[in-house]
Amino acid sequence: MKTESEIRQTLREWIVRTSGKIRAEELDDDTPIIERRIISSLQLTDLILMLERLSDSPIDIEMLKPGVFRDINTIYRNFFEPARA
């Protein structure tokens, strides 16, 4: 499995590539990607697929709490930290 910083880097690159609305140097781990419409609802489908791949486990969106995709920090906490604990 990838290290924490590799995962964060992968997420950052994916967001920049998918969005097309933000440059890498403008995106921090606490930049709100949904609120600022950097990622659209339709792109979330791809984000979920990418997270399933990266974490190697399926995601059931009906079980997700609101706000889990807020920013890179939140995504990391929700989808990767429990697996490491």
Partner: protein, 286 residues
């Protein structure tokens, strides 16, 4: 009575005539043999790619079973949000003409989930989870309603191309054919209603909307069409069918010429309708 009203009334009568009991209509076999076709081979997402050509017939048939589970699962998710949206619009002010039809629409979509869910749970023990999410935002007057029915139209038009072909395909397990047939029977009315309503709404609102709004709608529906197609390529189904590197398969298959051609063919009718009515402002790349 204007033509819109008359058409809605006609659709209501047709629904009443075709009304069925979803529990007594289908004969469910004890189990499904996965070494037979559950999806028309030419409609399997990987058809025409090396991923598909490299499989034995038995493996292709196993894949066709999980593709059916995926197709039925995505119908269930589409129908769940459809029912939510329809229920919200029932008896809403300004909907007097369509409310009687919304009753049929709701009834029929609920039955569809009984067929689709019945198949998935009986034979695969599961429904694949949904990956679609929507967030609310500020809309122009009528935009929210229009987008809702625009998305429904895209979703149902694509599904129906599959249903029509599979209902006729004698290679398929009988229960799969029957479900596709029953769905198509109701959907032919939903499609007629969808086109009628979407056209009617666009004519009503497009003068009120700014060019910005019209562009935003076009862009959104284009992205929705692409997102809808991606769901037909489900790594979870590939994994269940025994394929290796399911995520790579999904990513690569989506880029291949054979699958692009397939998506363009299946969506042609729906794209033509949206372009002819000025709703889609440019041809989507699929």
């Amino acid at each position: 009575m204007n033509t819109f009203e008359a058409s809605v009334e006609k659709l209501c009568s047709a629904s009443i005539k075709d009304y069925i009991n979803p529990y007594s209509y289908l004969e469910w076999p004890e189990k499904i043999d996965t070494e037979q076709w559950s999806t028309t081979p030419e409609l399997i997402s990987l058809y025409g790619t090396p991923f598909y050509d490299g499989l034995s017939t038995a493996e292709q048939q196993r894949l066709s079973f999980y593709e059916a589970i995926n197709f039925f699962s995505l119908n269930i998710h589409g129908e769940k949000s459809l029912i939510e949206g329809l229920a919200q619009r029932l008896y809403r002010k300004g909907n007097d003409l369509v409310s009687p039809y919304i009753h049929h629409f709701l009834d029929e979509e609920n039955k569809h989930m009984i067929y689709f869910g019945g198949f998935c749970v009986r034979y695969a023990g599961k429904v694949y989870p949904d990956r679609k999410m929507v967030f609310t935002r500020e809309y122009e007057p009528g935009e929210d309603d229009f987008m809702f029915f625009g998305k429904v139209l895209i979703f149902e038009e694509i599904v129906d191309v599959y249903n029509k072909r599979m209902a006729k395909d004698e290679r398929l397990a009988p229960i799969v054919r029957q479900i596709n047939f029953l769905h198509h029977r109701d959907e032919s009315r939903h499609l007629a209603f969808g086109r009628l309503l979407v056209k009617n709404m666009y004519e009503r609102y497009s003068d009120v909307w700014s060019m910005d709004t019209r562009e935003r709608i076009s862009e959104y529906l284009k992205n929705y069409l692409q997102a809808t197609w991606k769901e037909y390529y489900n790594p979870a189904a590939y994994k269940d069918a025994g394929l290796k590197d399911a995520f790579d398969v999904q990513e690569q298959a989506l880029q291949m010429q054979a699958t692009r051609k397939h998506r363009a063919e299946v969506s042609a009718g729906c794209i033509r309708f949206l372009m002819e009515n000025g709703i889609l402002l440019e041809q989507p790349q699929l």
